[in-house]
Assembly symmetry: D3
Homo-oligomer: 172 residues x 6
């Protein structure tokens, strides 16, 4: 039953939050750690929706923080599962920041989180496959293998020369 | 004055925290996002100590979450600046988890966060150089250039074939 | 500029939250007050989006709490502005609760919050009109006048026999 | 034993709170949702005291927010049970706000919350009757029936023309 | 104006709180630090009411934690100013804990906190005198001098043999 | 096994925290209660490390708050067990405050907390003895008996004239 296919839309989560005083540093900017906290919850809900299981964060890919996000800004985090590998799921996130009073809206962060579905004893358990539908979803699906190799190399769980997908990137 | 050199020890921060109920998910495990929140604060303090400036999170490198961390566990996060590049600083973190009642202590996470020192208007401002002392600090210092190239490539701010340090990794 | 018309979709906010330990009472059920806290933030963001102004909560209509919401459930709160009266906006909210592991999804609460747009000195300031588009939005728009009269009567700011819209309800 | 009568004083709760930074919005005003969160806890304790049972929030009547409450203000919330109907209890709340430095004290909100007493399986269970003592308590007791009808009508659980107590209000 | 006398009743604060999951340790007992956090806020409000000034915590006398307080218990903290010395005020607190479901109510802690009233620059500023009314208030008033000497001795700001009031205690 | 000796270093805990908006009062100063909350957690971890048991706060000795600590300051709390008496442990804490931007670092608070180790039923259970190593640790060890007598006298559990160690202090 767990093996039936799912679309990206099936796991899509939209989370909207207002930046409150305790989320900010001495310059009234949102702290990076608070943003990652919110992203982790949004991504976990997406992975739960896809797998119908308890999920645990397995890894987080490189995240760049470009624009400062300030007190009172409204964050919209979108998250959905791009591809699954047995019991693990890659979740794509994008963060949009809106300063409503100044009428400014920018997309600030893109990120990939990986989750593993587990049973009640904490053991990994297989999850449904993803069927990408739009062009953007297909692009994310295709790139997921390369990102997975990079994760394994960076975690010392794959040798660089075995990461064929990834290697081609540096060979061009 | 800001250009004088500093050691890794000068920026070393030790943060100890107990995992409380609200930090955990339905399996009583620490949520990944809560751990990143704490790591970001520890790393920010290290970068502040090095630069004597307000700092903002610029990026976070891949993080893997290996061991589940449970309610009541004690986290010890150590963070120090490994190397600086103009106004940016790479901070190395390691997380140790201790289950005191069961007498179990494991190192669970290593991570690199990058911070930028800014003045009161939010503009980047140069920071002191790092002088590594121990073998481990020297190794981290040497690897910092390669990790920086990977960050720039992953953020689409450097072409893969310009990342000479990084490239050599995949050419072996 | 503030007087141009807006649709309900323009102010639509979707907020997704996971019920965490500290949100719950001794039976592991979400506390009503925590749900109202989240609803107030979602509604405030909708009113901000409509008015492009700082907004303050003016009133909350009767809310019934039907289904118990438990630890680990995922809340999805949708909010949009149904109609404006000078500087005040009525916001409609609906709360959907999903227990992902049990595959159960129910709509639990409907509510109306009223906000007032204020300038930097805290003075009320006019907001755009709402143009309802769908049948449901038109129904909400039409009912807004009656609900407004009920609010004014309940707050002792209108005599019952002046509330013509409302009165007809009890005369049938 | 659960059927013995109780006075309003038996369930009286006084809760004093200081408005902290994270409770406020961009104008440094207390957010309406935070106030409702505190009111819900005060009212729940009153209902617990009356019933000696676990209680759950069943409904909240219309609340108007009149005066802005600001950072540093001291809130005093008083709550007691006005009347019971089988397993449900109506709780009356009043909120007083004091700005100590400016020597200003105002009563800002009155509200009615309804709670249901439940057993360990979550099933409703009868609670003691209320014996009002002062004139004000008697007035609240008498009005409770009309408010209950309004709640039922608004929740679509009673037809308007059956709400005899309420109807008379609009017939005058 | 600041020199007019005040009664203990003038500064009396009653704070009621429910013990929530995040306030507790691995045995579901309220953490001592969380209780001191709440006591500090209650005492600060009492000192503010007495002085009509911003106040800062100057010291806390020995506190013993006798009874374990558990998840779901209701705390009632009472605090009032017992005596003032120029710009400092001694606040007496007592904590009562009620387990409503088990019908158990005990007084668990007594404590003395000292606060200093300050002006906007943080400088100490004189406060009104206290006029004790009941026997218990008079007893607290009389003992305040001895406790003050003990504080000064313990903070190394008075030599033991100058603490005449205190000394007599050990000479009996 | 619980009776083997331990050094002070074995239980040493270092906790680093940044003062965030919600930790502060109207003058942007850290509230005393928030500091005690953090001290209690640091001390509890030290007592846990020493005893390998669940611990509960038994008492807190007089604490003086000297320097104001402000928003953005970095707190470093050090805690270790100085001496044990059967199942109780005295923990010494010192708090250092650093204002990194102003290059100011001061030691602000010293304190003694006492914890009791308990088994799963909450019953006290013996803990290892402490073997002090440095001169400072030996001084703390020696003074622990006098402080213990003061605690017992202040909690009315010892008569002043039985507190021989303490008495000598006032007899000089």
């Amino acid at each position: 039953m767990q093996t039936k296919q799912k679309t990206c839309k099936d796991s899509l989560v939209t989370m909207t939050e207002m930046v409150l005083p305790n989320d900010t540093n001495a310059l009234n900017n949102l702290m990076g750690g608070r943003l990652m906290y919110l992203m982790d919850i949004a991504a976990a809900i997406a992975a739960q929706k896809h797998s119908k299981r308890v999920v645990v964060t397995a890894s987080v890919d490189n995240i760049s923080f470009k624009e400062p996000i300030v007190l009172g800004d409204v964050l919209t985090i979108k998250a959905f599962v791009t591809r699954s590998f047995n019991s693990s799921m890659e979740v794509y996130l994008e963060v949009e920041v809106e300063n409503i009073l100044m009428g400014k809206k920018v997309q600030t962060n893109k990120a990939f989180f990986t989750f593993v579905a587990v049973d009640q004893t904490g053991k990994p358990i297989p999850v449904p496959e993803v069927v990408p539908e739009t062009d953007f979803e297909k692009e994310l699906y295709a790139g997921a293998l390369r990102r997975r190799q990079l994760r394994l190399v960076l975690a010392n769980r794959m040798k660089p020369d075995e990461a064929t997908e990834l290697k081609s990137l540096f060979m061009m």
